[in-house]
């Protein structure tokens, strides 16, 4: 509750900022309410003083002080891309005026401030995407700690440019200071139920960048097909794809997706969902899936991955070794959702194994057994992992940095978020954003209203939904509140949770928080 009060004050501060936005400026060009940036920056001040941009003269350049230079191909590419977004095809501008007017904006200087601009790196969960943008004639300055923040700033800059009634490009005097509320802003595409041609995926990455999404969750395989062409196990796609040549992603396709995404500051997190959702895997790998029985005979159909054979784990170890090498991101999504126990129940060998292990008839224990071994395998590749919420619900032991992906409508996702975060895990919310569902009318409104923090958890969990750069000045009081809280968690010991919490707070503090108050308050923590 205390925390909520603090929230209220935060919102108050924001609304004061809004007042400042509509200050008294002399209207000349575009009215302020017509400038629409999407998503809305954290701090945005714009005046009606407009500058003109000439496609012939305008340039995007590296600032002198910038640690990135012409050899930073990521930025060079981005400069060209955004130039084209703003001015389209140069050819049609051949006859543009050459004369420079006082009211021209002639350049955008991009200034990367950290010693390492990360030109050749990959974005990560810890990436600082904040940037500051100031537009004032004759040149605009975009300041960011690294190339990732610069990309976000370039996107914003391109959205500020508008055409007036004469077709001339204009930009208003503007100051922006921006950073994301959440560090993980993802889109999942499913390339198993239907194959998505490469160019569709790339076009989608393009649109993601325009919306400042930064994670492409590639649900690449599932029951229906296995389009991922594995170097270690080529038979997976040979026999598991809709078509072994036309409906597959070759290693170079995958590389292309990852590089295309990197150029736009987007992480690619592949999902290889097991033990359920694996029918297509069974086509290429014999004995991987559990044979289902009808009475005392195999029925000829197969269920989830067979958790009682060592060979299953040996396969997974080899397979995930490849995956961890192919996908550079620090996280892999391991699925773990919707495991149907009927086939396991029907299989006498599985039954025997259950007995041996003392699982009784609780098949979720068997699932946990499998997942735990899988997690160990993946942990050995030095990757972090994400899992669907069932894995957490079934009480599988998870590493502290595991991300729990909440997707179910029942129980209410707000409750699930509260529980996941109370147990000290990072939570990732998808439930209200299943956009494959169809509805009528202005359905974007509900998508818009959903808020991942809209739940009442114990105080600290509010902070712990991951990746939020909250106003951490109150985290010390939350720590205090947390210790005193009687409803700390359903996962036993106060001590453990407290330890987790402290760890987490430290982690948050380690993030480079560039915006106003955070740094200071983290020091307090």
């Amino acid at each position: 509750m205390y925390c909520l009060l603090k929230f209220a004050s935060l919102f108050l501060a924001v609304s004061v900022c809004h007042g400042w936005l509509f200050g008294d400026f002399v209207g000349k060009q575009k009215d302020l309410d017509e400038i629409s940036l999407w998503p809305q920056p954290q701090k945005f001040q714009s005046s009606a003083v407009a500058f003109k941009l000439s496609p012939v003269r305008f340039q995007i350049v590296h600032a002198k002080e910038s640690s990135a230079g012409p050899n930073c191909s990521l930025l060079e590419n981005a400069f060209r891309r955004y130039f084209e977004y703003m001015f389209g095809d140069m050819k049609k501008h051949e006859k543009s005026r050459k004369k420079v007017f006082d009211s021209d904006l002639v350049e955008l200087k991009v200034w990367v401030t950290s010693a390492d601009p990360e030109c050749d790196g990959y974005p990560s969960l810890q990436t600082d995407e904040s940037y500051e943008l100031s537009v004032d004639g004759p040149s605009a300055v975009l300041k960011a700690a690294n190339v990732w923040g610069a990309l976000r700033g370039l996107e914003t800059f391109s959205q500020l440019v508008y055409e007036d009634d004469y077709g001339v490009n204009n930009i208003n005097k503007t100051v922006i200071s921006d950073f994301p509320r959440f560090a993980h802003r993802g889109i999942l595409l499913d390339s198993s139920r239907h194959f998505l041609p490469l160019k569709v995926i790339l076009a989608n990455l393009e649109a993601m960048a325009m919306n400042k999404f930064n994670v492409f969750h590639w649900h690449i395989v599932d029951d229906q097909s296995f389009p991922y062409m594995s170097r270690t196990f080529p038979e997976l796609s040979q026999k598991g794809a809709f078509h072994p040549f036309t409906h597959v992603y070759t290693p170079s396709d995958v590389k292309m997706v990852i590089e295309f995404a990197r150029m736009r500051g987007i992480r690619v997190i592949p999902e290889f969902d097991t033990p359920g959702h694996t029918q297509s895997w069974g086509n290429g790998i014999t004995n991987l899936l559990t044979p289902c029985f009808s009475g005392s005979k195999p029925s000829g159909t197969f269920g989830p991955v067979n958790p009682i054979l060592n060979s299953s784990y040996e396969f997974m170890a080899q397979f995930f070794k490849e995956i961890s090498a192919v996908f550079p991101d620090a996280y892999i999504h391991l699925g773990g959702d919707e495991v149907d126990f009927n086939c396991w129940k029907s299989n006498p060998d599985v039954g025997k194994f259950m007995e041996q292990q003392g699982f009784g008839t609780d098949y979720s224990k068997l699932e946990s057994f499998y997942i735990q071994r899988l997690l160990d395998i993946v942990a050995a590749t030095n990757k972090g992992y994400m899992v669907w919420q069932e894995v957490f619900d079934n009480g599988v032991k998870l590493k502290a940095d595991t991300q729990i992906h909440v997707w179910k409508e029942r129980p209410q996702y707000q409750d699930e978020m509260a529980q996941v975060t109370a147990a000290g895990f990072s939570a990732l919310l998808s439930t209200p954003w299943y956009l494959n569902r169809i509805s009528y009318g202005q359905d974007w409104v509900n998508v818009y209203k959903a808020d991942p923090q809209n739940f009442t958890g114990v105080c600290h969990s509010q902070i712990k939904i991951m990746w939020i750069y909250l106003d951490l000045c109150f985290c010390s009081s939350c720590c205090f509140y947390f210790v005193k809280s009687p409803k700390i968690s359903r996962f036993g010991e106060k001590k453990t949770t407290q330890r987790l919490f402290t760890q987490y707070t430290i982690m948050l503090c380690m993030l480079e928080l560039t915006s106003f108050k955070e740094k200071k308050s983290c020091e307090v923590c």
Binding site: H194, F195, P197, A203, S225, H243, H247, R437, I438, Y440
Partner: protein, 535 residues
């Protein structure tokens, strides 16, 4: 002996395997399902180089028939999409002797330069045998339907060779009016989007394009008589309009595919955009004793309105050759009329009391008389009939309201009026694709009534209203769900009531649409050999 026995059994097994594998190669069938179709496993290979369309000797239409010449050209590319002239297909050398294949088309009556209309005979007979196919029909419109069916019979094996099976088809439509409505007022649809949609309509044997061309939000039709209507009423006076030549192009593109174009000029409601270019047309609404500045439906109390409508309809008659014109008449809000003192005076004078439905009927009847004088048949939305169940003139009623639409069908036919059913085919309301079956299981004639009444049901219509639809999502939202309605309106209901049986055929037809460049959305999990590639 024993040895030989095993050997022959082996052969038998081998043979039966071959026999089994042949039907797998065969196409699932034609969409919409022909009235009678018999196919056998005998298949003939087709070579693009040796394939031709010709006119039968006894055909009334011969070379120079615009509709069929264009159709031959079109269907050749549809049947052989990867055929490029001069490029030798090496695979053909694998076949010892490619045989020629001739599709001979015979038409009883010429009529190549006319337009399809409500009485057009679309029946055809198609017989595919070794080396030839014979397509017979009464009109060129029937030939078009037959060519479409023929094109759906051809398939490619895994080596890219073309085949089709021995087939006999006797076919005719169940309903004469199989329409599709596009709304170009809520969003402007670029010309190419409309033309592309006409292509897709022809693939499903739709034959009426109901062009809901203007409405409240915009007036994109560029009128010769009243250019201000689009100058001031379109979203943009130059980029967001249909010029006369655009309209002609749509009509001609449709004619080539045996599709009628029925324009809708909806009044007296749904006319906000008209008022911008035609002052004094709309009723000024009042707030107390003073005009509020806003406007309501067309003002039915002044002569200028009727003079305007007469001139507009006269233009419509010359621009749109179809004998039908849609006059709308739906959803008229009476609040503005009620607020206006002049309208109230007029009501009193006419003895309508406080019943504004009478005022609307008065207006509708006047303009329906105008169209009758222009030799056009009026279609109106059901509201007009509901307000005035004893019609003085003949018009066609389009049933659109949800609820018991069959009850309405019964009432309308009982009054002796022709009826078109649209209510269950509102495809702009999206539902998960796999519920296409809801459009499939509609039974337009399942109301109690005499045979005479049933004959008055001239067909049905798919509606794609534009509130949330523009060129970005038009095609996937329409197709393949509209195909379900197409089959309902063309095929024998008794043979096509089971959606499960129809599913594999529809799935294949959807892949066929993708191959032809129509961005039809998937019905469920799966894949097509040729995925959509138009991005």
């Amino acid at each position: 002996m024993a040895h030989t026995g095993t050997y022959s059994r082996c052969l038998q097994v081998w043979f039966s395997l071959v026999v089994v594998s042949v039907p797998l190669e065969q196409v699932e069938g034609v969409w919409p399902l022909p009235q009678q179709i018999h196919q056998s496993a005998d298949r003939y290979s087709l070579s693009p180089q040796l394939f031709s369309f010709t006119y039968g000797k006894d055909s009334a239409a011969q070379a120079g028939c615009s509709v069929l010449d264009a159709a031959f050209k079109r269907y050749f590319s549809i049947i052989f999409p990867d055929f490029t002239k001069g490029a030798e297909n090496g695979l053909h050398y694998l076949w010892p002797e490619p045989k020629p294949f001739v599709v001979s088309v015979s038409v009883k009556s010429r009529g190549c330069d006319g337009y399809p209309d409500e009485d057009s005979d679309e029946s055809y007979n198609l017989s595919v045998s070794n080396g030839q196919a014979v397509l017979r029909s009464v009109t060129v419109w029937g030939s078009l339907r037959g060519l479409e069916s023929f094109s759906q019979l051809v398939y490619q094996d895994d080596y890219g060779s073309y085949f089709l099976n021995k087939t006999e088809i006797v076919d005719f439509p169940r309903f004469a009016f199989r329409g599709l409505l596009l709304d170009t007022s809520r969003h402007y649809l670029p010309l190419h989007a409309i033309l592309k949609n006409l292509d897709a309509m022809a693939y499903s044997k739709f034959n009426v394009f109901h062009w809901h061309i203007v409405d409240d939000p915009s007036f994109p039709y560029q009128s010769r008589t009243f250019p201000d209507l689009s100058n001031k009423g379109a979203f943009h006076p130059f980029t967001h309009i249909y010029t006369q030549s655009d309209v002609m192009r749509v009509i001609e593109h449709a004619r080539m595919r045996g599709i009628r174009v029925v324009p809708e000029f909806d009044s007296p409601g749904h006319t906000q955009s008209w008022g911008k270019g035609q002052p004094d047309l709309l009723t000024p609404c009042y707030k107390g004793d003073v005009p509020s500045g806003s406007f309501g439906p067309v003002d039915p109390t002044v002569d200028t309105t009727y003079k305007f409508m007469e001139r507009l309809l006269k233009e419509v008659k010359y621009v749109f050759p179809d004998s039908y014109v849609h006059l709308g008449g739906d959803e008229v809000s009476f609040a503005c009329w009620q607020s206006n003192p002049n309208v109230r005076k007029f009501m009193e004078k006419m003895g309508f009391g406080k019943d504004f439905t009478k005022l609307e009927s008065f207006y509708m009847e006047s303009i329906m008389n105008m169209t009758a004088a222009l030799n056009k048949t009026s279609i109106v939305w059901q509201d007009v009939f509901d307000y005035h169940e004893r019609p003085r003139s003949k018009y066609v009623v389009e049933v659109w309201k949800q609820g018991c639409y069959l009850c309405e069908m019964r009432r309308v036919t009982k009054a002796g009026l022709k009826v078109i059913l649209a209510a269950p085919f509102y495809l702009d309301l999206p539902i998960p694709t796999h519920s296409w079956a809801r459009y499939y299981i509609v039974r337009p004639l399942a109301f109690r009534g005499t045979d005479e009444q049933k004959k008055l049901v001239i067909g049905g219509e798919v509606a794609m209203w534009g509130e949330y639809v523009d060129a970005t999502n038009l095609t996937p939202r329409l197709w393949p769900r509209a195909c379900a309605a197409a089959e309902r309106l063309w095929s024998d209901e008794e043979k096509t009531l089971n959606a499960d049986l129809a599913f594999p055929r529809l799935e294949e037809f959807r892949c066929q649409l993708l191959k032809r460049g129509i961005q039809a959305e998937p019905l469920f999990v799966g894949h097509c050999k040729h995925e959509y590639n138009g991005l």
